[in-house]
Symmetry: C3
């Protein structure tokens, strides 16, 4: 893990790449949140733009499709005045590690400053960060079932804005923990930032075997798991899990692990509800809850831009060697 | 219709959304044309750019493909210095009204200022305008078989530039009126702006049953219909109408409802010819006419940018509540 | 050929379009290289941008897909501060010359300043240049098996940066000469710029019948052809040539015409290796050579941006009549 830590940080311990929550400490995560706070106002200004990254080239390198994450990264870059090069690259064309590297080195040769990478393989962003030139930064926009650190940080930002601090917070993450890179990043971020307790609520088939080692309490029963929590994070249910026989029907799933108004009442009365989106109404969450007063789902989207602006500007500023 | 009127206008009666010609009065249509006139020069300047919408985010939300309309909206936004987010969303992914709304609310949460919407369902732009936050404007770039108001206004702009005024003008619209959102918008705009007479020329199978109620004279015979008109607007023939047995062959169609040089001679000697494009040469219009001196087809394209700049800037200026 | 010469140049003999190396003289090619040199520093500045083409609209009109060429043209335009309109047009939609012209005239009517065209048909860029308005410039980004002049010029720029001059240079181009627009442009550029000798090395099946008339020496044997050359340009092997029975297996091809370290030793000790990319490792070039100290492959990519900035700015400046 040492290696990964070093990879993300420059010699001064500053953020050079943003690849995973793993390897970053509380101070650095807090710095990201504080920087995001300073950017949060820009998107509601009349002129939603600062010239911070003018003349920089950011490459959106999406090997896996993602309308929302891509759009928020693009807006974050645009509002920092960077130039964006969007490349949609079918994974097939770069199935061999060797040709992925050729692709990266070729784009790098166009004197770009940053790669925002989404890839279906765990570790893809790390792999790229290991091989780029020192002046190029890499941001992980989701790699396989590994991590999705900007999503986790926008969730942390959203929680902090409402709850002010992490100390004493009980957070439940509900759903397909096994396949979720989002959950993996959230659990680490919550533990590092000092949450009182992180619970995961899921059927056994959707939990990793070593899940307790991540620093969570495990609940198979949603009613028990939601008791007194301050934050409920619902995960998106990938519908293909159904057909793969890991799960019963959608309505059966909703009955056991969906968030209804009734179940939400078991949580703390000030509890907030989050979801990385897009939501499956009636599957993992009821419409009443998703659209209710406790829901922060749309704030998460807004906050995603501020957090991504923070990460883009911090890594750009701390590149090992400016060209 | 009252409701729709209110929806497009803010409390001061100014353009807040641009959804349909229906519900707007002559003064407002004229204001759009006058504003477009002020923008018409920009695209021929050396630096084709004004900073009017700098730092605003305009979302191109095209659920239906359209190279030309999309390109002119994009250029209009670019020349006003706005930032553009282009989203191609397959209709299938949002087939339920509920998930279309989720899509909209999610993008809106990215603190965008405007949606330019094209959708295969009539009323889609209205539906979206009813549900967006007060500071967001919606532009209809074509909804099903309902309206295509920016196309109609660029046509009006093109006519006014050549004919100076609408008073006394006889205009014939020829072709598939039944399925044409363009015709529906044009007919209303021409009537509101004071054209002397609006004629529709088409076979019965391509006319709505209540067509006279739109305020037009109906001609099944092209020779009779073209007599003494000042403007001939040809509609694009969707080739799928052929296979659906609504129409005979292409050559048969051209013989009856195509615009040849001979037929054009029946119109007023100063008559101009228009077409929303892309044209089917030899089907609804002959090449000689399309490329002839009376044709305004390419001017329509140029004017589309000025008119769209007008609509973008007017609605942006009149949003109910600036954020 | 006279006609083509005139087409590329304005009345003062300056570059108005950039369509082919054919028809341009040494002075003009040298002017492109010198201009590119002045742009080469911009991409490594902190703010990679000059306002030279601010408010100009450049249309990327790619009828054929090309991630790399398209990206470098887009970055070149962005770093000159131009606005870019990207249009992906399936060749099928414009299979008839007539409708290609309609497409062009329509986009031209949007008051754009330049077309960057890639098309699978030889002569497409010339055809378009013959039909655009006088103030519009056309850049050939590859047309069929005819020419790819910006690729050739970035190769010349790369050679000149390392070798300082063309006088006395022996250059070998290896591989599928028959189907290569790149080779066709390179051969002409090298001859015009004064290279001592241009050799082509290929099996007979991959050579045009009249190849000597291009001004090259022909080698069927790679060992003989590489002897004492200063520059080795490897061409990409289109894998479909294999299945079409023009060639034996990949490994067989590599044995005869692939560049290994051993074969490279036959060239001059300071010889450099180039390849337009993307490379097929182990087919036309070994990884050791591609990644070795003599390889300029990634410099070619970087230089592509400077050369394209040069061509965009020169043609824009010399348009026959500014609007």
């Amino acid at each position: 893990m040492r290696e990964i830590e070093n990879l993300q940080l420059n010699a001064q311990g500053q953020l050079q790449h943003f690849l995973s929550i793993e390897g970053l400490d509380k101070a650095l995560l807090t710095e990201i949140l504080d920087t995001a706070e300073s950017f949060a106002g820009i998107s509601s200004q009349n002129v939603k733009k600062v010239p911070l990254l003018r003349g920089k080239t950011i490459v959106n390198l999406f090997f896996e499709n993602s309308t929302r994450t891509r759009a928020t990264f693009e807006l974050a870059a645009t509002r920092l005045s960077a130039d964006i090069l969007s490349m949609n690259i079918a994974t097939s064309a770069t199935s061999k590690g060797e040709s992925l590297l050729d692709t990266i080195h070729n784009i790098e040769a166009m004197q770009v400053d940053m790669f925002v990478v989404r890839h279906s393989l765990s570790g893809a962003a790390h792999f790229i960060a290991q091989h780029v030139a020192p002046h190029v930064s890499v941001i992980n926009a989701g790699d396989g079932q590994h991590e999705h650190p900007t999503q986790a940080m926008l969730d942390m930002f959203t929680i902090r804005r409402v709850k002010k601090q992490f100390t004493g917070l009980r957070v439940a993450i509900v759903g397909d923990i096994l396949h979720s890179r989002v959950a993996r990043s959230q659990i680490q971020a919550l533990n590092k930032l000092g949450a009182e307790e992180v619970r995961v609520i899921a059927p056994k088939t959707l939990l990793p075997t070593d899940v307790e080692s991540l620093g969570v309490s495990v609940y198979y029963d949603m009613e028990a798991g939601l008791k007194d929590v301050d934050v409920v994070i619902m995960l998106r249910l990938q519908k293909e899990r159904m057909s793969s026989a890991l799960l019963p029907s959608e309505s059966e799933y909703f009955k056991c692990y969906g968030l209804s108004e009734d179940k939400l009442k078991l949580a703390h009365k000030d509890a907030v509800v989050m979801h990385p989106g897009p939501i499956n109404r009636g599957v993992e969450i009821s419409s009443k809850v998703a659209d209710g007063t406790q829901s922060l789902i749309l704030q998460q989207v807004s906050n995603g831009i501020a957090v991504r602006m923070a990460v883009l500007s911090m890594t750009m500023q701390h590149r090992r060697e400016s060209i």
